[in-house]
Structures are given as C-alpha cells and as structure tokens.
C-alpha cells in the first residue's frame, strides 16, 4: 500500500506541476512554447534513456529517426493532403520500420562501433532530407504542414499544444516506468551489466536490444509527429548530428537510467539557452561551462544530485532530536 503510494506521489506531483505551469507562467506564450519544445524532446529522451541508460546501447541516430517521422507526416498531410491520422500513424510506423531494419545489423556492434554505425545512419538520413528536394523541400525546409486536429478539436493555440505534448510526456513516462519494472526492464538492465550472464539466463539479447531500439524509435516518432504539426514547418538542420548529440547530453545530464532525470535534462537543456540569450556572445561558452560543471559535480546527473540532496536533508532532520 505505502509502496504504491510512494510510486504515485511523484506522478501526481508531476501532473499538478504540468497543469499549473501555464498559470505560473501567467500564460506567457513565449515560455510556454519553449516548454512545449522541451516536452517534445523529453519524449525522445525517455525512449533514448531506455536504450542508453537501461540497456546500455548508444544511438547517434535518434535525431534522424525523429526527423523521419516529422517528414513523413509532413509530406503525407502537407503534400498529399491525407488525413492527419494517416500522417501520424505512418510517421510513427515508418520510423519504427526503419529502426528495425537498421537495428538488425547494427545492434550486433558494441560501444564505439555502434556509435559510429548509428552516426553513419544519421548522416545518410540527413543528406537525404537535404537532397530529396522534390519530396522534402531540401535545405530550405518544408512549409505548410497542417495544424493538428483530433476529433474536431484544433490544437492551434500554444496552451492547448502545451497540454497535448505534456500529456504525451506523461504517457511516455508512465509506460517506460512500467516497462522498467517488468521482466523486459530486468532483461535490459541484465544485458547491460553482463551479456554473458543474461544469455545464460535464457534472455535472447539480440531480440531485446532490437526491441528496445524499436520502442525508443516509436517514442522518437511520436515526438517527430508532434513537432511537425506544432511548428508547421520542418528543416533538415533540426535533425542532424548536432541534435542527436544534444539528445544524448540530455540523457546523461539528467542522469543515466533515471527517467525523471531524463525529463529534467530535456527541460534544462532546452530552457537554459533561452536564458543565456541575454549574454549574447558568451552564450556558447557559458553553456559549455555549465555542462562541464554539471558533469564534474553531478556525475549521476540532475537526478543523482536531487537524490543526494534529499537524502542529506532527510539525514539532517533525522538526526535532530
């Protein structure tokens, strides 16, 4: 009973915070739209955390997977005028299919080699976005993606899109929390620590790696669809190598294998540059410095830092008579 309560408390707090945020920001649409973007990235990061933090498999191709979903729905709904549902489902579906086809050969590799292979995949997709001008609009981007509409409700305001995106973050968070507390979660952690022991316990490691890679691509795909219909415009530069690295940074900064941390990492890294804008030229340097300091003093990321803080506070209060 108390353990369920302990699990539900942070989730409830999360819901309340999401509900309250627009009011706390006094409906400042600028910040609301930044947080909407942060939510979209958080969805990718949740999936990437399952892959990287839990299963220990790196991917520098998630920016590309995100882009495949965004462009698919853009082309289907924008160019061909197909219904939004078709665009969304095909976007996510195609992303998952590509992830499966890429994952099958590539996930046999480990460590740096896996990083290089997924990087190569990302570059190819990036070049495709740039060169297939007839389809994607090329480097100048794809304009005219329709506004999202679900059962007649049009998500054309920043507020409604904020709530839509963050509900999806909640779904992604809950499903991934559920997953890690299941036999699949245990299998992923097991193969991360010792592939030898995992397979000797009857875990088909190749299949589990492929499964988590495809699952994380589904998260990236959902985020891609949300992204395309939010901005109504996509360009290749949003899906390049730089973005893939940024996603990894979000996972690591938030705390590997901490799903909550991943969300914090996504929000932090999306919001921080907006504040640093005031410093103009120094922006990039400060950004880099903050990253270095975080990694030096919070080796387990934001989540690890918060946990340590909480346990310190608890100990101090516990000791007092």
């Amino acid at each position: 009973m108390s353990s369920t309560l302990r699990q539900l408390t942070p989730v409830a707090a999360f819901f309340l915070l999401v509900l309250a945020t627009p009011f706390l920001l006094r409906h400042d649409y600028y910040y609301l739209s930044i947080l909407t973007m942060a939510g979209i990235f958080a969805i990718i990061v949740l999936g990437l955390n399952l892959l990287l933090g839990f299963a220990g498999q790196i991917s520098l191709g998630h920016g590309a997977l995100f882009g495949i979903a965004a462009y698919t729905t853009a082309v289907l709904t924008g160019t061909y005028g197909l219904p939004l549902a078709v665009g969304a489902v095909s976007g996510v579906g195609l992303t998952a299919l590509v992830a499966m086809l890429i994952g099958m050969p590539v996930l046999k590799l480990k460590g740096y080699y896996l990083a290089m292979a997924t990087l190569g995949f990302g570059l190819i997709v990036y070049i495709f976005f740039n060169e297939a001008i007839g389809l994607t609009g090329g480097p100048s981007g794809f304009v005219g993606i329709p506004v999202l509409e679900v059962f007649g409700f049009v998500f054309d305001s920043d507020l409604s899109y904020f709530y839509l995106v963050w509900s999806m973050v909640a779904v992604a968070l809950l499903t991934s929390l559920n997953l890690i507390h299941s036999k699949y979660g245990r299998a992923l952690m097991a193969l991360h620590i010792s592939e030898t022991a995992a397979q000797s316990m009857g875990i088909n490691i190749a299949r589990h790696k492929l499964f988590v890679f495809v699952l994380s691509s589904v998260y990236a795909g959902i985020a891609g669809v949300l992204y395309a219909h939010y901005l109504n415009f996509v360009a290749p530069s949003s899906f390049g190598f730089h973005f893939s690295v940024q996603l990894i940074t979000m996972v690591v900064l938030g705390g590997m294998a901490s799903l909550w941390g991943g969300i914090a990492g996504a929000v932090f890294l999306t919001v921080m540059p907006e504040f640093l804008r005031f410093y103009e030229n120094l922006e990039v340097i400060i950004y880099g410095l903050i990253l270095i300091l975080c990694m030096m003093f919070l080796p387990k990321g934001l989540a690890g830092g918060v946990c340590k803080l909480l346990s310190n506070v608890r100990r101090r209060f516990g000791r007092e008579p």
């Binding site: 499903t175 559920n178 997953l179 299941s182 036999k183 699949y184 979660g185 245990r186 299998a187 952690m189 097991a190 620590i193 010792s194 030898t196 022991a197 995992a198 397979q199 000797s200 316990m201 009857g202 875990i203 088909n204 490691i205 499964f211 699952l215």
Partner: protein, 259 residues
C-alpha cells in the same frame, strides 16, 4: 547405461584458442539425477568445457547433446531456455540490481506476459509478477539469502554473491545445473553448507548437477562420478574412490604441485 538417462553428452569436443588447444577430443557425460564433478589442474580446460556446454564458446569439432537433443549449434539463450543453466567462476552477478531482481531475472523465461502487458500493467502482469516474485523468494530462502533480498547485489560479500548466482540459476528451473567453482572464496563452514545445498538440489529439486571444483574434499563427499581433465584431455573418469587411486590423476596433480 542407456542413452536416455544421459542428461549431457559431449562427444569428441575440441576447442582451440589461437595456439592453445583448450580441449582436445573430449568426451564428457553426465547421467540424469547425478552430481558429476569435473576436476583438473589450473588451465586444464574445465571452464572452457562448461562454456561449450552452455553455448558461450563454439567448439571447433565435436557435438554437444543435451537432454537427448543435439544442441551443438543452438545459441546460449536457447540452451538456457531448454533447461541448461549455469553459474560463473568469475562472478557475473547483475551488480546494480537488487538481490531479489537478480533472482527474478533468472526466472525470465517463466514469466508470461507480452510487451503490452508490461507497458500498460495489465492484470496478467500483476499475476505473473507476483508468481515470479514468489518463485524468486522461494529460491532465496533455499540458499539462505532471503533476509538480504532488497539489498543491491554489489553490497553482498563475495561468498554471498556466489549463493546469489546459485539462487538465480535455480530460479530458471533448470534440468541441468552447471556450477563453475561454487566453493571458491568460501570458508570451511560455508563450503560445508554448500555441500548440503548441492545435495538438496539433486535430491529435492531433481536437478542434474555438473560441478567444476578444486576442493577435493567437497568433490569426494558429494559427487557420484568424476571426470578428470588435464591439458584439455580427459585422463580419467569414474567413481570418486576410483579416481582418488588413479595413478595418472595423482601424477597430474603432483606434477602441478612440483611446478
């Protein structure tokens, strides 16, 4: 001996690592319901033989028959699912997971719900997780680790981690259990307890055991049959008391001491 009561039958196994012939034309059989020991000096190829049996190392030639089937080309995970499970000489505990989670991972094959069941926590999920947890707790109780179940595995002392590996392997409900030096690093009292456990695994759980061990006293006390490896070759096999008297075996061990 009729072949159907042979749980494990390796024929003419050879394994080569570069210039080292780790196994050379090895025949090894384990009769159903026995504790069969595999002994030999350091570097004799004992671990390599267990690796070939469990599918972690491919043999250059020969066949591995398990539970009446030829499994020479079957991948490691499928052999484990078929009922051949092992522990490791150099511990392979899932260190960051809790003791209980380690053992629940052992029961992986037996937990029956799909991905959707896991993602959305269906009633089936709760049912199966409860069953899996009960099974894991039963195995922890069996090896005497129940009290430590919620500790992270890396916090356990070395000897307890060995027991954890044993519990994890038992949770997979194997038909054949392969133990690689389970008594290494244990003190005399712990070794005594381990001997009792291994016997109970055979007698109460009806699991066939193949054990690699350096502790001769333990081997002589619990095993029904012994096979001796020396430089990758079988130099003797038979009942423990025969092995003890075998001049070739004595020479192999003395030779090692003399080195």
């Amino acid at each position: 001996m009729s072949p159907d009561n042979v749980a494990l039958h390796c024929r003419n196994l050879s394994v080569r690592f570069g210039g080292v012939m780790a196994l050379c034309d090895v025949d090894f059989r384990v009769v159903q319901g026995t504790i069969t020991a595999l002994i030999g000096p350091n570097g004799a190829g004992k671990t390599t033989l267990l690796n070939v049996v469990s599918g972690l190392v491919e043999c250059c030639s020969g066949t591995v028959g398990l539970l009446g089937q030829d499994m020479t080309r079957v991948p490691a995970w499928a052999r484990a699912q078929a009922g051949v499970v092992r522990t490791f000489q150099n511990l392979e505990v899932f260190t960051t997971m809790s003791v209980l989670e380690n053992v629940m991972t052992g029961a992986h094959r037996d937990v029956r719900y799909g991905v959707l069941g896991a993602l959305f926590k269906t009633p089936r999920y709760f049912l199966e997780e409860r069953r899996c947890r009960a099974l894991a707790e039963e195995k922890l109780e069996f090896v005497g680790l129940f009290a430590e179940r919620s500790l992270p595995a890396w916090e356990l002392p070395y000897g307890r981690q060995r027991l954890l590996e044993l519990a994890r392997a038992l949770a997979a409900q194997p038909q054949i259990l392969l133990l690689d030096e389970p008594a290494a690093g244990l003190n005399t009292r712990e070794t005594q307890a381990l001997a009792g456990l291994i016997r109970r695994i055979r007698d109460e759980l009806n699991i066939t055991v193949a054990i690699v061990e350096h502790d001769m006293e333990l081997i002589m006390r619990i095993s029904d049959a012994v096979t001796v490896l020396h430089f990758g070759q079988v130099i003797a096999s038979g009942a423990p008391f025969e092995i003890q008297k075998n001049p070739e075996v004595i020479a192999a061990y003395l030779g090692e001491d003399a080195r």
